[in-house]
């Protein structure tokens, strides 16, 4: 069966359509940001504003994250510029008890589910305030309280894990849905395949959100796969696949909402392709000018999801320039305060190196910890001789 959410007939992903949005993508907002009443979601003003504020907060956090990295105050950063509609639109359609298995480019997800900025900044710095004790690189968040699964670098490992979590909810007879996020490049990895294979075989309550930002670092999506559309990959696993304008938060919300409903109703998994363009560098160590297509970039710049949503809200009379200024200021202050506070915190204790490897330290780890403590007492300090991270 197919989703009601439908675009026009398929358009191949080629260099030729790199400017405009693919015809087959579902949309609510037109290019000049008029909502199609037939598909416009019935969302309250508060709900709409919450979504908008979340998108802005995410953008502001990314701006600051990149700045902190340039200033050498954090080691690395992965921005999500241009993808705010995808993280916010999908998050808005999930319950707090639903599981989320994210990749490293979804800050909006975390903010929407109630993670506070300070916790995120502590992760970026890797200090004592970081839940993960500075063990992982920046942006590799983990928030058990919000059922936001620990992010790891290896691409797409989370996809099958989300399916496993869904299998567990089936086994336990619960109704939670699991959503997992990955990129266009991620669809080529082993665990995209095992994930969708298992989901199709067990009809699990899982939603697969593919952010097709058309690049995997420097590799364009038309070199990544021969498929006409990422959404078409669903067919081979026996599940519906649908493409949506990833720069239209309303379209993303509507699509996600329906996929989540299907999953919760026991109708099985869905693959959602959110088409967008990565507007920033791959990460703070990447130089996109080496490979980026300027024409394509300029075309998508005009489709900024925050500006488009703002116009919609203004049109509805829900939003004004005054509110905008206020919001921008608040969002910025929230981040600045968090940074200020986080920067006062100590790095993790060297003892933290030995915790959480196992439920209890092994004799080997106890010996290694003792040896390291003795070494510290002997030599006093440990000099930081690390090189900068190149990617």
């Amino acid at each position: 069966m197919q989703l009601n959410v439908q675009g026009k007939e398929n358009q191949p992903m080629t260099k030729t359509n790199r400017g405009v949005l693919r015809e087959d993508c579902f949309r609510v907002l037109s290019e000049d940001n008029i909502a199609d009443p037939k598909v416009e979601p019935r969302l309250s003003e508060t709900q709409l504003l919450k979504m908008y504020e979340n998108m802005v907060q995410s953008r502001v956090l990314d701006d600051r994250g990149m700045m902190l990295q340039r200033q050498g105050r954090i080691g690395f950063y992965v921005p999500a510029f241009g993808q705010e509609a995808i993280t916010t639109g999908t998050a808005a359609a999930l319950k707090p008890s639903d599981w989320v298995f994210p990749s490293y480019r979804e800050p909006g997800l975390f903010l929407y589910r109630g993670v506070n900025v300070l916790e995120m900044i502590c992760n970026l710095i890797g200090n004592r305030g970081d839940i993960c004790q500075g063990r992982q690189m920046p942006n590799h968040y983990s928030f058990a309280k919000q059922r936001l699964f620990s992010i790891s670098s290896p691409i797409s490992t989370q996809v099958i894990q989300a399916v496993g979590a869904s299998m567990a909810t089936q086994i336990k007879g619960e109704t939670d849905v699991a959503a997992t996020y990955f990129g266009d490049g991620g669809t080529s990895e082993n665990d995209f395949h095992t994930g969708l294979t298992f989901a199709g075989a067990y009809k699990t309550p899982t939603v697969f959100v593919c952010t097709n930002n058309q690049y995997a670092i420097s590799v364009p999506v038309h070199k990544q796969t021969g498929a006409k559309r990422i959404a078409d990959k669903a067919i081979g696993y026996g599940m519906p696949g649908v493409a949506v304008d990833g720069n239209d938060v309303l379209a993303v919300y509507v699509t996600m909402e329906e996929a989540v409903k299907r999953a919760r109703a026991g109708e099985g998994p869905t693959l959602i392709e959110c088409l967008t363009l990565r507007m920033g560098p791959h990460s703070s160590s990447d130089d996109p000018t080496r490979y980026r297509d300027p024409e394509q970039y300029e075309a998508w710049k005009k489709r900024d999801p925050i500006l488009r949503f703002k116009q919609y809200l203004v049109g509805k009379g829900y939003w004004s320039e005054e509110q905008e200024e206020e919001l921008q200021a608040e969002a910025k202050d929230r981040v600045l305060e968090a940074v200020e506070q986080a920067e006062t915190m100590e790095p993790p204790a060297i003892e933290s190196l030995f915790e959480d490897v196992y439920a209890e330290k092994t004799p080997q780890l106890r010996r290694q910890e003792k040896a390291l403590q003795e070494e510290r007492d002997l030599r006093g300090k440990f000099e930081n001789t690390s090189e900068a991270f190149p990617l």
């Binding site: 970081d130 004790q133 699964f149 894990q161 496993g164 086994i171 298992f198 959480d356 092994t362 004799p363």
Partner: protein
């Protein structure tokens, strides 16, 4: 007490703990209706239903990756990898995910699971149904590695593993799946992880081994005794965390060591045992630490019995350290 084979003891442990803990679920290729290709899960799907014993698609990375999600969501998955040789498609999930989830999430998420897999040679399985790759996993912090050598330990160690809050790779020496029988209590019991067992005492040479080769080493001890060499045979049972005390105590007593492994020699787990002794008990050594190991080649088919260490080869090594 029942007299069970090793594979029956494995099944018994699964049955016993599934009765005791509803969070325990089994998944893998052919583990359901077919009861597993070695029959380790015989009848369990009938007993516990398709929700707790799942036949999976043919994808090890999927099996382990799904088990991760299950563990994170409150279950106690026991994935079976049909042969240890087929665990490699899941290597990324095991090394990058299973082993690191507790650490990287600051304990926010944990990943308790028991990855069961038949390992080792001795059934004429050739390249891909014979390997002993425990060293890969012993070198991966965050995992525990367990390998029983008899039915009693198999049941007790497997129940301990299923109750352990850490991920455990539970290796089942398939050569002795059926050829070794023993008394196994019907009810539930545990054998503590991380404790080796001195399976034969002796004053002259310490022979360190695990899995199926424990029996070859015991035979070797029989061969050596009349030749005037009393072997102390240690069955490690758990490779990670290693019971260093039991090893070192014995070596300090005997001063002579033979380490026996089935895996290719270079960088196998036997190297870790030798290195430990060379670092912690070098003064006690009266002879070189001799390793008896598989060849640094892929595992052969026709000449399997030439490739695999056996009692005579171990006995020759014992002779070597005695006459040094």
């Amino acid at each position: 007490m029942a007299n069970l084979t090793l594979v029956q003891a494995v099944r018994d442990a699964l049955y016993t703990e599934m009765k005791n803990d509803s969070r325990v679920v089994l998944l893998g290729e052919d583990v359901g209706l077919n009861g597993g290709v070695f029959r380790a899960t015989e009848g369990l799907q009938k007993e516990f239903g398709e929700k707790r014993v799942l036949d999976t698609p043919l994808a090890e990375s999927g099996i382990i990756g799904a088990a991760v999600g299950m563990a994170v969501n409150g279950l106690r998955p026991v994935p079976e990898i049909q042969f240890l040789d087929f665990i490699y498609p899941a290597f990324d999930q095991i090394v990058s995910e299973v082993a690191k989830i507790r650490y990287r999430s600051g304990g926010g998420f944990t990943c308790p699971m028991v990855i069961r897999s038949p390992s080792g040679g001795g059934i004429r399985g050739g390249h891909y149904h014979s390997q002993s790759s425990e060293a890969y996993f012993a070198h991966t912090p965050g995992l525990k590695v367990v390998i029983p050598s008899n039915p009693y330990d198999a049941k007790g160690l497997l129940i301990s593993s299923m109750r352990c809050d850490d991920p455990v790779l539970f290796l089942e020496p398939k050569k002795i799946y059926r050829s070794v029988k023993g008394e196994v209590p019907e009810d539930s019991y545990t054998v503590e992880l991380g404790k080796a067992q001195v399976v034969r005492e002796g004053k002259d040479v310490t022979v360190i081994c695990w899995g199926a080769l424990v029996w070859e080493c015991l035979k070797a001890a029989e061969l050596c005794a009349p030749r005037g060499a009393e072997c102390e045979v240690i069955d490690l049972r758990t490779l990670v965390p290693l019971d260093e005390e039991t090893i070192l105590e014995s070596v300090r007593k005997t001063g002579r060591v033979v380490v026996v492994q089935e895996a290719p020699r270079t960088c196998g787990f036997g190297a870790e045992v030798s290195a430990l002794i060379a670092e912690e008990a070098v003064l006690s050594l009266e002879a070189p630490i001799v390793r008896v190991a598989g060849l640094d080649t892929p595992f052969p088919y026709t000449l399997e019995h030439v490739y695999m260490p056996d009692a005579e080869r171990v006995a020759l090594a014992v002779g070597k350290v005695m006459n040094f």
